[in-house]
Symmetry: C2
């Protein structure tokens, strides 16, 4: 059974986040905080105009462009300035720094829009022969450089935009699975599923623009993944077109048939091939949703309460806990005094009686663990602003503020050590550079054996040295994560930015195993060069 | 923190299952069923004596044996008849057919017992240089030929018995994880964990003899995996020694760092390397356990009830549903009439009030779906006999009965079609060979998107053609599984027996990717030849 996608595709700012016509202003109180807290001078910078972005001439030779046109048809190979600039970078802080100043040097030579898996296959075959690098592009929302059009050793590079591949098929209401095209954005997927009373329950902060294919390729997690599961838990089958052939993995509830090839392709970030459809486990739309606030005397106390909840029989769907700094800043921004040192949001979704039972049982556990109930208001406020972070980043960057996030996860027994190590690495690096900043953190996902930590930090930009400043903090934080036993990424993926640390995460022999598989599936080395796998020392990449 | 293993290691019959001194007899009523139902003639065969087993001379040259002795020490390289015979085969039906008649042609040239990961590494390094095949051996309970000592293109083959690697370390009561050595058998692991009030909750039918390393290497599931999760859900980290180096994957609650290398090594069946330790998610020992029986008018009605339960908010720990044939035979064996067409067992474990709540909620759902409650008696009877299947197989083989099991899984929407296809393939193959048999099935594991099917069948052996008879049924059943969209194995793994169908399961490009990974990690091709990966047509294996 097939469902028609009705939600329209929406444009996104090429230099930032969201609707290109939306412009937010900071409240005077927030502006004052930036002045006094970070030392920004109040001047405002605006991004250059699109026409002023410097893009190199396309390196795509005319016969190659013609060959691509023959595969995907007229209008599906574009190399105009606007299209190239939109595909020149993802949405990480360093990407936006470059784009705002008009640095479009990284733009792809063209953008190709296949409509079917067969067209994808023919594009990869053609590009393998012609040695044209191919960068799969979903929503373009990567914050780790995952969609950066790097040529590698190829003659040219094209972005492969999957926006036309948005079929919703095989709606299996008995098995609660559905097959989705990779180009479907979050709202398109959810509104199509809602027509059948279903939901995927996957709501990353990038939900409005990120795509199904991107979620799977980057092993993403959403704000309700504590309850609904990470995207890797939701994938039951997929199809992936590689330059050496298509891999078809039909939906399977469970299997013992060797290494899990689904789990090899989930998180593969386009370096083996292009995910052309995914079968995902869905649920019936919850009848009731309840989000509520709790306060704790300390981050550690709150974390212990969440640990007790997650290790017991009471299932939570949403669980977040802000540290002191994040709780204070949140209160300041909303103009209401913080009710306690650390704010937690707990969320329950499902049948009304089940939601009420779990809520009541959780309340008992949380009270015993020292929590103070704050009622529904903080939960409603959180839900309302759950996708707002990246909009605020644009406004802060207008005012000369570096603002970035990074995330990790660790077993419960090492979580607070990891928290202190990363916070201290970020703070001290910023201080050493003469730009002391604000470092905040929240727990965003719970597991029986551990939790994630999501850090946000802000500091005055070092004019002309924005990228070096960012790299210094990023490197210090990632070194601290690795040193304290955290994972280099909990849900942002590896991309370009974390690739140098992959061998720390999985060991050199695993990296070699992945390289060997890539060489077999992508012998010409055209698939998303420079991502995921660390550069080979001494090799020209 | 470390826990001492107190549970003693127990010997197992070299020609069958369990304690070598145990011998069961069939009840007269059961014997009569075999006569009338399968046409067996009542004669009894006994296995040959150990001394009469035909084993070829060891091909291990003296300098190679000496080299291995230098790595693992005196007494840890054995090539006596008893040791070689115990390691000559797993516990599948064709293995036992061969062993009972004294066919020890497949015995390894020697058995090596490393004590540490470093010794494993040195053995692999030495064997790579000397081109000696290495077959990792845990409990030796594979029913798919996973431990068969195949030389491949090597000069000799050794079994690598991990019985000395039984450390229980890093007991992390905050994160609820523990690190286990690969050689720990089920009772050894559970009794060590119980000292800390913990349980892994992993109870395959082979529990008494199977090992932790074997579970992970074969991606196993246990009888309570509906609630506790499959072994793949329980692994949070592991170490694997490959001929190209050690892969160390520290425990991680969740990560987005690329393809999941843990999931490439879980289920890798020793073809890349040897799993030398595993960090597993554990739970607190349940205070209460409740198993109860239900009857349904048909297999389909029962399956629908289980689907409703599993897709709703009520968590089950154990869920099994026998079809009409299995229900009838079970009643006949126990001497009590069947209470209905199809018997189901539902199990709940945890805190007493939580068990009671879930039991009561589940009862409502099951009654509405047409189930009739049978109380605790069938649950208690099931629990008592939960590990008995393989003992009964020995007794049936004594009486000239072929008895075998095989398992698959599929989405709910295709489950009954798969059930009929496999049942019909087994029945008609047996009939065509003039040995009509009994075919039974139960659902053993539930997932929101599907379930497993576990088939058992029995027929009169064709004397002198036992292996051909078995292969004919196995091939027909597996072809039917593939044709009806099932997985080739839900929890027995691929091994030797399912390898020819792997490309049907994951596609030829995936097989090539796994081959490339193997070539990089095991360049000399010494690791468990002939398992998991299908033979290359035209190549000498």
């Amino acid at each position: 059974m097939t469902v028609t996608v009705t939600e329209p595709w929406k444009p996104i700012k090429w230099w930032g986040w969201g609707d290109p016509t939306r412009h937010d202003e900071l409240a005077p109180a927030a502006m004052e905080m930036l002045r006094s807290g970070l030392g920004v001078d109040g001047r405002k910078s605006v991004p250059v105009r699109l026409e002023a972005v410097r893009t190199p001439p396309s390196r795509l030779a005319a016969p190659i462009k013609q060959g691509l046109l023959e595969v995907v048809g007229d209008n599906a190979v574009r190399d105009d300035q606007g299209t190239r600039v939109v595909h020149a970078a993802g949405k990480g802080y360093p990407d936006l720094v470059r784009m705002r100043t008009g640095d479009g040097e990284g733009a792809p030579d063209a953008v190709v829009y296949p409509a079917t898996a067969i067209e994808v296959w023919r594009v990869l075959e053609f590009c393998s022969r012609q040695r044209v690098a191919v960068v799969p592009f979903g929503g373009g929302t990567s914050v780790v450089g995952g969609v950066e059009p790097i040529r590698g050793s190829c003659a040219a590079v094209v972005s492969l935009d999957l926006a036309r591949m948005i079929a919703v098929t095989n709606v299996d209401e008995r098995s609660l699975t559905v097959t989705l095209g990779p180009g479907l954005r979050g709202p398109q997927a959810e509104s199509a599923l809602a027509q059948k009373g279903l939901t995927l329950g996957h709501f990353p902060q990038s939900f409005e623009y990120a795509t199904v294919g991107g979620w799977v390729a980057t092993r993403s997690a959403g704000q309700a993944s504590t309850g609904y599961g990470r995207i890797d838990d939701l994938v039951s089958g997929l199809r992936c077109v590689t330059p050496s052939g298509e891999i078809v993995l039909p939906p399977r509830p469970g299997t013992a048939a060797g290494p899990d090839v689904v789990e090899l392709l989930v998180g593969s970030e386009g370096v083996f091939g292009v995910i052309t459809e995914v079968t995902l486990r869905v649920r019936r739309l919850p009848e009731a949703r309840h989000y509520e606030g709790w306060s704790f005397a300390s981050f550690d106390q709150g974390a212990e309460a969440l640990r007790h909840l997650e290790q017991g029989p009471i299932a939570l769907d949403v669980a977040r806990l802000s540290d002191e700094a994040e709780t204070q800043l949140g209160a300041a921004i909303s103009g209401t005094p913080a009710a306690g040192a650390c704010l937690a949001i707990l969320g329950f979704e499902g049948a009304p009686d089940d939601v009420e039972r779990r809520r009541a049982q959780a309340s008992e556990v949380v009270r015993t663990a020292g929590g103070t109930p704050l009622g529904e208001a903080p939960g409603i406020a959180w839900e309302k602003r759950r996708f707002e972070g990246p909009y605020l980043r644009d406004t802060l960057m207008d005012h000369g503020v570096m603002v970035e996030t990074l995330e990790t996860a660790a077993p419960w027994s090492g979580l607070m050590r990891l928290y202190e190590a990363v916070r201290s690495a970020i703070s001290s690096t910023l201080e050493l550079r003469g730009t002391p900043g604000i470092v905040m953190c929240h727990i965003s996902h719970l597991y029986p054996d551990g939790a994630s930590l999501y850090f946000s930090f802000a500091a005055r930009q070092q004019p002309g040295m924005e990228l070096q400043q960012w790299q210094a903090v990023k490197s210090a934080a990632t070194d601290a994560i690795v040193g304290a036993g955290g994972t280099i990424t909990h849900h942002h993926a590896v991309g370009r930015d974390h690739a140098p640390w992959l061998a720390h995460e999985i060991g050199p022999a695993s990296v070699e195993a992945l390289r060997a598989m890539k060489a077999r599936l992508d012998p010409a080395g055209i698939m998303n060069p420079g991502k995921l796998l660390p550069p080979i020392v001494g090799a020209s990449v």
